[in-house]
Every structure is written in structure tokens, then in C-alpha cells.
């Protein structure tokens, strides 16, 4: 295996780790806002890492560019979705839960 | 030219419906008339062409099966198209008055009905298993909005139930088609037979899926639960179309598949089971029809019962049973349309259709009531009528094959039919000497009474035209029985 393949594998594993963390956050965090926090931050990073890894695997600038566009679109979509969910939660009067 | 007719039979009404939809509210008053006349004309053209020169085949896109889809106008398809033309034409006349051509609902009615007409013809002509699925859905999805035309607030529950069952039934059918394609690598009705026959258990399961799916669509007992409310709730013209043609389309497919690709699989026990379903439908449907309090529900349950007769073909599977079953389809189509139109007139006039409150109706609505009675003769299978010819053929078939138990079912079915038809007439003949019936509507004009009467008379006339029609139908397809 070449160095780039090793690098790609590393990136993907790291990305998966972020996803895992994000998912744990979604499951364990007490209220909407902190869940969103975990989900968007961790998952977007994770997605970026995985995308980078996949791009590296493909060894093609065209594919790399496409993957980047996809990542950017996903970022935009998830940020807007996150914003809307949070707004809705606020409008419903959800409270932040303080950890005991 | 002749080989184009099957295409025209499908697309003349279909395109007319699309145009109607596009024209929207600004309906041209004569467009439905023109479209109906044109459709009837091409249907008759097809009939005469097939009668003169035998079946017609058309390969869509010029691609022969198994690659492409064929339209095949054989005897069975042609008689069904003829039935559709006759019933459809007369129902259109009725609808010109009942639905009008002016308001948006009318526009929807005509768009849907003309497209449905084309879809039915497409279904009858289709010779491709998957194309049949598409046409089945086309027919269903045109029929449900038509039910809604009676006013969504009243019929939406029925329509929803109809949709659920129809959708599930057709997907079940599609599952069978999927397996069939896996076995045979083809979808053409003429080509899949051997593979299904040799397909062992896979072939059997594929056939079962298709047959059960169609049974659900055909509202065969015990899958009838969706039918009465939908057919009883729809506007009269729509009920007539649904009962006379739409459910029959599924039964038609059963006959077609059973005598075609599934012929090699037809097993005696399964056939008896199908017959038993038919018998149960006849008995259950008739008893329910007798117990209904609303006229249109009486007629709707009668459809459940009458469809059962066509299933009696399966256990007997001889030429006379074939002719009897198809002829029953024809005469029931005509008679049932007449019954629904007559019931619709009652509804227009009285504003309700409670059977118990039909007193004194024979004076004010004598023409519609007479139509109801005459059509009832055919439903009861009494001579001289198309219903009698069908019953006679089935009766002969049952005795000839030694399956006398179906003869008993046939006879009792006729008596039960008499019970529910005469129950209606009995209330209608009761005189209300003290006061005229509390009417809410006008007496329906002749243009609404006439189609019902004509259809009823046709049901009688079918008692005398069996020979040419059965010649057109042709004998039992080979390899059955």
C-alpha cells in the first residue's frame, strides 16, 4: 500500500471517529441545543475527513473537486437545518438543561 | 389502417381526457360529446375489424415481444371493449345531464372518465404482464378521484379504503410478475406460459401472487370489503362505470391469465377453491344486498355477488363455462349500469335512497323504475335476458362436468337476486295514499332516464344476440382445462 492509501485510511478512520463521537453526543446529551452542537460540529468534521480520504483514494483532481463541492453543499445544508431546528426549539420554549 | 385501430381505441379517449384536463374550466361544451362519439366509433371499428378478419396485433414502437409490448385485440378483448363502448357511451349521455359540462367538477369528471375509458381499453388490449400492472394502476387511480366527485366529505373514507386495497393488490400482482420475469425472462403473455409451468414451486408462487392480487382488485369475497362503500357512494354515473367495467377489468385479467400463461398450472383443487370463493361471493353478496337500507348499497352488494358467477368458470373450465362467464360479464355490465343509473335518478328525485322510503315512486318515476325492474330481470338470470343465457351456459357446464354443486349455487343465486330486486320494487310499488312522496328534487329529465332504460333493454336484448357475440369471442383458448 502506498503512502497516500495509508493516509486516506487514516483520514477515514479519524472521520469515522468523529461521527461516532457525534452520534454519542446525539444519544447522550440532555437537550436539543447541545445535541445539535454535537451533531453539526462533530459530524461535519467527520464528513470532511472522510471526504478528504475518499478524494485521496481516487487520485483524480476532478473527483476531488466534485467531492469538495459535495462537502460544501452538505455543510451549507446542515448549517441551515441546524439553524432552523434551533429556532424552532427556541420558539417552542425549550430550555437548556443544566447538568446537576 | 386496421392494425392501427387498437392504438386509436386507447389513445382517442385518453388524449381527449388530457385535452379536457388542460382546457380546465373553460370546457368546450361539445368536447365530451365529440370524444365519446369518436371513442364509440373506433371501438365499433375494432369490433367489426376483429369480427371480419380475426385478431389484430400491434407492436408498440415497432418492437416485437419479448423486447417490446404488444397490443392484442382478440375476441375476449374485443367483446370487453365493445361492452365498454356501449356502457361508456350511454353513461356519457347520462353524465351530460348529471354532471353537465360547465363547472370545474364537470371538467374533472370528463377528464378522468375519458382517460379511464382509454385506460380500460389499454388494459383489455395489453398482452404484457408489466404493462397490465401499469394499466391496472391507471384504471384504479382514475377510478378513485371519480368516487371523490360525489363530494370528498362523504366519500373520502371509502376512497381511501379502495386505494389501500387496490394498491396492495396491484403490488402483490407485481411481485408475481417479478418472479415470472425471473423465471421466463419475458413479460409477454404468449411467451411466459411454458416457463411458469416448468417453474415448479416458483411458478406456482408467482401465479398465486398474481391471482391473489387480482382477486383483491376484483373485490372477490373476502376481499370485497372496499367495494360497497366506494361504489355506493360515488355519483351514479361513476358507480355505473365502476361496477360495470372497472371491477370487471380485474376479473377479465383473471380469465385471461388463467386461460393463457397460467393454463399449465391450473390445478383441480385450486380451481375448486376459486369456484368456492365465487360461490361464497354469490351467497354473501346477495344476502348483504338484501339487508341493505340504501338503494345504491343494494346495487353495490349485488355487484359483489354477481362477480362471483364469473369465478365459477375456473372449476369447470369447459367451453360452455368460458362462454357463460364472459357472457355474464357482458350482461351484468349492461344491467348493472342500468341499475345504478336508475338508482341515481331516484337519488336526484328524492334526495335520498332509503329503500324503505321509496313509497309511491312508481307513479312519479315510472320510467326509471321500469328500467330498474327490467335490468333486474337480467340480474336475476330470468329469461329472456343476457343474464339468463349466461346462467344457462354455466348451468349446462356444471352439469356436463358433473359438478352439480355449482348448479345449486347458480340456482340459489338467482333466487337471492330476485329477493333483493323485488324487495326494492315492493317498496317502490307501495302506495302512499295520504300524500305524495316528499320530494326534494325535480323529476330527472328524459336524457337521464333514457340511458338507464336503453341499458336495461340492452340487457334483455343480449338474450337474443348471444350467437354473434359468442362467435366474436371465440371458443375457449387452447390448452385450458
Amino acid at each position: 500500500m502506498s503512502i497516500s492509501a495509508w493516509l486516506a485510511a487514516l483520514l477515514i478512520v479519524a472521520g469515522t471517529g468523529f461521527f461516532f463521537a457525534g452520534t454519542m453526543g446525539l444519544l447522550r446529551f440532555p437537550d436539543v441545543f447541545s445535541r445539535l452542537h454535537a451533531l453539526t460540529k462533530a459530524d461535519n468534521t467527520g464528513l470532511g475527513l472522510v471526504a478528504a480520504g475518499v478524494a485521496l483514494l481516487h487520485q483524480s483532481w476532478r473527483h476531488a473537486a466534485l467531492i469538495t463541492v459535495i462537502w460544501l453543499l452538505a455543510l451549507a445544508a446542515s448549517s441551515i437545518a441546524c439553524h432552523l431546528v434551533a429556532r424552532d426549539a427556541l420558539a417552542r420554549g425549550e430550555q437548556r438543561e443544566e447538568k446537576p | 389502417m386496421t392494425e392501427w385501430v387498437p392504438v386509436l381505441v386507447v389513445f382517442v379517449p385518453f388524449l381527449a381526457g388530457v385535452v379536457q384536463f388542460m382546457a380546465g374550466r373553460r370546457v368546450i361544451a361539445w368536447w365530451p360529446v365529440l370524444a365519446s362519439v369518436a371513442t364509440v366509433a373506433v371501438s365499433l371499428w375494432l369490433t367489426f375489424a376483429v369480427a371480419a378478419g380475426g385478431g389484430i396485433e400491434h407492436f408498440m414502437g415497432g418492437w416485437q415481444p419479448p423486447l417490446g409490448i404488444a397490443l392484442r385485440a382478440d375476441g375476449l378483448a374485443t367483446v370487453m371493449i365493445l361492452l365498454t363502448a356501449v356502457v361508456g357511451g350511454l353513461v356519457s349521455v347520462y353524465a351530460l345531464e348529471a354532471h353537465g359540462t360547465g363547472d370545474p367538477r364537470a371538467s374533472h369528471f370528463w377528464a378522468l372518465w375519458l382517460m379511464l375509458w382509454g385506460s380500460l381499453n389499454a388494459l383489455f388490449l395489453s398482452a404484457d404482464l408489466f404493462n397490465i400492472y401499469v394499466t391496472l394502476e391507471l384504471v384504479t387511480l382514475a377510478a378513485i378521484p371519480l368516487v371523490l366527485l360525489a363530494g370528498p366529505e362523504k366519500t373520502v373514507t371509502a376512497a381511501l379504503r379502495y386505494l389501500q386495497f387496490a394498491l396492495f393488490g396491484s403490488l402483490l400482482y407485481l411481485a408475481g410478475v417479478a418472479l415470472t420475469y425471473g423465471l421466463a425472462g419475458s413479460l409477454d403473455l404468449a411467451l411466459v406460459g411454458p416457463a411458469l409451468t416448468d417453474g415448479g414451486i416458483t411458478g406456482a408462487v408467482a401465479a398465486t401472487c398474481m391471482v391473489v392480487g387480482l382477486l383483491v382488485k376484483a373485490a372477490v369475497f373476502p376481499f370485497h370489503v372496499w367495494l360497497p362503500a366506494a361504489h355506493g357512494g360515488a355519483p351514479a354515473a361513476v358507480s355505473a362505470i365502476l361496477s360495470a367495467l372497472v371491477v370487471k377489468a380485474a376479473v377479465y385479467l383473471l380469465l385471461r391469465l388463467w386461460t393463457g400463461p397460467l393454463a399449465g398450472l391450473a390445478d383441480g383443487l385450486v380451481a375448486q377453491l376459486m369456484g368456492a370463493l365465487g360461490a361464497a361471493a354469490i351467497l354473501y353478496g346477495s344476502i348483504q344486498a338484501f339487508r341493505q337500507e340504501r338503494l345504491k348499497l343494494v346495487v353495490a352488494y349485488s355487484t359483489v355477488a354477481q362477480l362471483g358467477y364469473m369465478l365459477l368458470f375456473f372449476p369447470m373450465a369447459v367451453a360452455q363455462a368460458w362462454e357463460g362467464a364472459v357472457y355474464h360479464g357482458l350482461s351484468h355490465g349492461v344491467a348493472k349500469a342500468a341499475l345504478f343509473l336508475a338508482a341515481g335518478n331516484v337519488l336526484v328525485y328524492l334526495g335520498h335512497d332509503r329503500v324503505r322510503d321509496l313509497k309511491g315512486l312508481d307513479r312519479s318515476l315510472s320510467v326509471s323504475l321500469l328500467a330498474f325492474g327490467i335490468a333486474g330481470v337480467s340480474i336475476m338470470g330470468l329469461p329472456p335476458s343476457g343474464g339468463f343465457i349466461a346462467k344457462w351456459l354455466l348451468l349446462r357446464a356444471s352439469l356436463e362436468t358433473g359438478q352439480w354443486w355449482w348448479a345449486v349455487v347458480l340456482i340459489s343465486g338467482g333466487l337471492l337476486a330476485a329477493a333483493y330486486i323485488f324487495r326494492v320494487l315492493r317498496y317502490a310499488f307501495l302506495q302512499a295514499p295520504d300524500r305524495p312522496p316528499a320530494t326534494t328534487g325535480p323529476i330527472p329529465p328524459p336524457i337521464m332516464a333514457l340511458p338507464a332504460t336503453l341499458l336495461a333493454l340492452l340487457a334483455i336484448a343480449l338474450g337474443f344476440t348471444a350467437a354473434p357475440l359468442l362467435a366474436l369471442l371465440g371458443g375457449l383458448p387452447e390448452g385450458t382445462g
Partner: protein, 494 residues
């Protein structure tokens, strides 16, 4: 291609059918014209029947065949038996039409009534000229359907109830009959009515099946012929207007059933096969039971029309009895009773209708002194009653005489006893009527004279005198008796 002349049975049928259709389409607004249409229809029919009668006498063959399916034809033909029934119906239809026009002068729904009335006669014509079992069945069911609106004509719950019972019996009978026909077609293939039948060659192999078929067919026709225990509908159907009752009892329904039995025995199974399968005696027993039972029940009735109804149950079975015995003389007696009972019974019903219409008399105890108030009508009642009892030389006597002779010839002596008992019973339920009518004084305040409306009286006189005439002139060449002798000779000569 059948010629116009050969198709005569069809035209006879059409005269009533077309009349019915005109009346239906014309509807109530044309009520002034309707009697004319009716009478023209009836007269044309009578004329055509006359022509046909002449033709049959000369040995012309009348036959129309309309194919329905391969092996399934509607066949209309005219043989001597047909003519017996057709002539009777044509004459009585004219009489009843006149009577009904007068009877229903101001009643509602007359268009419907006369339309179905004509349809009913058309069906009777069809039954009479049916050339095979299927055709017979078609018109048999048509008759059922056409009479139902007449039975329920009054539109009151009582008549609706009667209609329901009527349908239960007749449609049930029709269904059984259909099953019998289908079985027969399956066993022997399609076949026309032919003297002696064509089933003899099947007797060895399929005796059981043939017996079953006979049972089904006779049960099917027996319902209309009101054989005990299938007679339940007849008294109930009295709820109908008087002309309908008259028609039902004298010509249409009951006679159609009896006629059917005659056809089945003679032209489907044949005397020989009947004897071979030993079917005659059971049929004769049933007929005898019906005769006695009907008479016994008639005695118990207090309502005039109901008493007449039970009398019909009893009298019509003479016909069945006659053909069941299987001897030529008995057959003559039975067949001629078809005519004699028809004329006599219609007279009686006309009288009952006239009483009801003129003075509102329905029960027998209201008849006191009616002879003085309605002498002509009562005279006819008397003639009819005496004819029914069988007082010589009236028509009923002729029938009974031949039946008796036939029983002796067939060595079935118990029949004589039945006939005697029946005569006694007839006397028991008819003579009190006459006694009340002629010899009891009218009740207080009901002495006003008042003969029936001429439209009612005329037909009554006509049928009553005809009944007398057929008895008196039974020996002449054109009498029903002579005609029947021709039929029976043909049947019994191989």
C-alpha cells in the same frame, strides 16, 4: 326462412306484446285511447287465432324457430293442444279486458295495470305455443314477472305480502324447473315437444335420472298448477283485483302450470315412458289428494273469493289427474276440463268481482238475497256453481264423466271414489251460496236493487253462457270436446 303465414304463432304473441308496449310507452295521459288499443289488440288476436285454428284443422304446420345459441332455440309452434289453450286464452282475454275496463274505471295506475295485463296474456300465448321446454320456461318465467305487478296492484301492505308469497313460490318453482331442463338437456340434448316424447331409448340406462328430472319438472309446474303441497300462494294472491284473479285462475297462471304438466307428460316423456317408469300413479295420487284437500279447505272459507280460490286448487287438478291416468278417455276428460274449468271459473270470479264492485260484498254471509238485487249476475253464479259441481248437462259433468270412464278403463277404481267425494264436497261448498243468494231475504236496509255495470255484466253473461254451451253442445264437431278427442287420438296413436 319462415314464411309470414308459418310464423303465425309469433304474430299472435306479438298482438299482446305490442299492445303492452304501446300502453307502457303511452302512459297515463292517453287513458281515453287505452280501451280502444286494448280491444283492438284483443280482437286482432282473436281473428288471428281463428285463422290459425282453421289452418291447424287443415293440417298446416306453424313453426317459428329463433336460435339463441347453438342447440338452444326458441320454438313457437301450433299443434292441436296449443290451439286448445290459445283459443281459450284469446276469447277469455277479450272478455276479461272488457270486464277490467269497467272494473277499474277510476282506479289509479291503469296504464301499468293494462300493460302488465297484456304482457301476461302474451306470456300465456307463449306458453301455449312453446315448441320446446326451454321456450316454455322462458314464457313461464315471463308470466311470473308479468303477474307480480298485477297481484300487488293495489299497493297496500296486504297485497305486497301476497306478492312476496307469490314470488317465493313461483320463482322457486321456476328455479327447480330450470334445473330439470338443464339436466334433461345434459342427458338427452335439445329436443322439441313431440307426441310421445323422445326419451324412451334412455329409459333403461338412466331410469333414476329421468325420474329425478320428471320430479323436478313436475314440481316446477306444479307450483303454478297449485298441486298440494305447493298451493300456498293461490289463496293469498286473492289480494289482487277481481279481473286479475279471474285471469290467474281461469287462464293464465294456474292453467299454465296444468298445461305444462300436460306437455311434460305427453310431449316430453310420453305415455309409454310414464308407464315404464311408473310415474303416472304417484302423479294421480297427488292430484287426487289435491282435489280432496282443496275442496275441504274451500268449505272452511267465509270469504267468497277465497272459497273460489280453493275450489280452483281442487278443480285444476282434474286436468293433472286426467293426464296422469294414462288412458285415452281420462285424458279427454282432463284436457277438456282445461276449457270447461276455465270458462266456469272465470264466470264465478266475474260474479264475485261484480258483487264486490257493485255492493261491496266480499263475505259469503253477505250474499243473502243478492239474487233479487242482481238477478242476472246471480244467475250466472248459479250456472257456474252447478257446472263446477258437475250437474249434467253442464260442462263440468262432461269432464267428470270422461274422467270416470277413463278410470274404469285404466282399472283404477279408487279414482271413482275420489270423483264422487269431490262432487259431494263441491256441492257442500257451492250450494249454500246459491241458497243464500236466492232463498234468504236480504238484510235490513240492503234491499235496493242494482244490477252490475253493463261492462261487468256483459262478459259475465258471455262466459257463463259459453260454459253452458260447451257442455250442452259437447257432441258437436267444433266443440272443445271434439277438439280434445283429436289431440288425444294423436297422442295415443303411435
Amino acid at each position: 326462412m319462415t314464411g309470414i303465414y308459418e310464423a303465425m304463432p309469433l304474430w299472435v304473441l306479438m298482438t299482446s306484446l305490442v299492445t303492452a308496449l304501446i300502453i307502457f310507452t303511452a302512459g297515463e295521459p292517453w287513458h281515453r285511447l287505452r280501451p280502444v288499443i286494448n280491444l283492438v289488440g284483443a280482437s286482432v288476436k282473436l281473428a288471428l287465432v281463428g285463422v290459425m285454428l282453421w289452418g291447424v284443422q287443415l293440417g298446416h304446420a306453424f313453426m317459428v324457430r329463433i336460435p339463441l345459441l347453438p342447440g338452444l332455440d326458441i320454438v313457437l309452434h301450433a299443434d292441436a293442444l296449443t290451439m286448445l289453450f290459445v283459443t281459450l286464452s284469446a276469447i277469455l282475454w277479450l272478455a276479461t279486458t272488457i270486464y277490467a275496463i269497467a272494473y277499474l274505471e277510476h282506479a289509479p295506475n291503469r296504464a301499468r295495470f293494462f300493460g302488465f295485463f297484456s304482457l301476461c296474456v302474451a306470456a300465456t300465448m307463449g306458453i301455449a305455443s312453446a315448441g320446446n321446454l326451454l321456450t316454455f320456461f322462458i314464457f313461464y318465467e315471463m308470466l311470473t314477472l308479468a303477474t307480480w305487478p298485477l297481484v300487488v296492484h293495489r299497493g297496500v301492505p296486504k297485497s305486497m305480502n301476497a306478492g312476496r308469497i307469490y314470488l317465493q313460490y313461483t320463482l322457486g318453482g321456476g328455479a327447480v324447473f330450470l334445473l330439470g331442463i338443464a339436466l334433461l338437456y345434459t342427458l338427452a340434448g335439445p329436443s322439441d315437444f313431440i307426441a310421445g316424447g323422445e326419451l324412451l331409448h334412455l329409459a333403461d340406462e338412466h331410469a333414476g335420472a329421468l325420474t329425478l328430472i320428471f320430479l323436478l319438472l313436475v314440481a316446477g309446474t306444479g307450483v303454478k298448477a297449485a298441486l298440494v303441497p305447493l298451493h300456498g300462494w293461490l289463496p293469498v294472491a286473492m289480494a289482487a283485483p277481481a279481473p286479475v284473479s279471474a285471469l290467474l285462475h281461469a287462464v293464465a297462471v294456474v292453467k299454465a302450470g296444468a298445461f305444462g304438466i300436460v306437455r311434460i307428460v305427453y310431449d316430453v316423456f310420453g305415455i309409454e315412458l310414464m308407464a315404464l317408469l311408473d310415474l303416472g300413479t304417484p302423479l294421480a295420487v297427488i292430484a287426487s289428494v289435491t282435489i280432496i284437500y282443496g275442496s275441504l279447505l274451500a268449505i272452511r272459507q267465509t270469504d267468497l273469493k277465497r272459497r273460489l280460490a280453493y275450489s280452483t286448487v281442487s278443480q285444476v287438478s282434474y286436468i293433472t289427474l286426467g293426464v296422469a291416468l294414462g288412458s285415452p278417455l281420462a285424458s279427454i276428460g282432463g284436457l277438456v276440463h282445461l276449457v270447461h274449468q276455465g270458462l266456469t271459473k272465470i264466470t264465478l270470479f266475474f260474479c264475485a268481482g261484480a258483487y264486490a264492485e257493485t255492493h261491496g260484498i266480499h263475505r259469503i254471509d253477505e250474499l243473502d238475497g243478492i239474487g233479487r238485487r242482481m238477478p242476472w249476475t246471480t244467475a250466472m253464479l248459479t250456472l257456474g256453481a252447478l257446472g263446477m259441481i258437475g250437474v249434467p248437462p253442464l260442462a263440468g259433468f262432461v269432464s267428470k264423466w270422461y274422467l270416470g270412464l277413463g278410470a274404469v278403463a285404466a282399472e283404477q277404481y279408487w279414482i271413482i271414489a275420489v270423483l264422487l267425494a269431490s262432487t259431494v264436497l263441491n256441492a257442500i261448498y257451492f250450494l249454500p251460496l246459491l241458497h243464500r243468494a236466492w232463498f234468504r231475504p236480504p238484510r235490513q236496509g240492503e234491499a235496493d236493487p242494482g244490477e252490475a255495470h253493463p261492462g261487468l255484466l256483459g262478459p259475465t253473461l258471455f262466459t257463463g253462457l259459453a260454459a253452458v254451451g260447451t257442455g250442452l253442445f259437447a257432441g258437436f264437431g267444433w266443440s272443445p270436446l271434439a277438439w280434445v278427442e283429436v289431440i288425444v287420438t294423436r297422442e295415443y296413436t303411435p
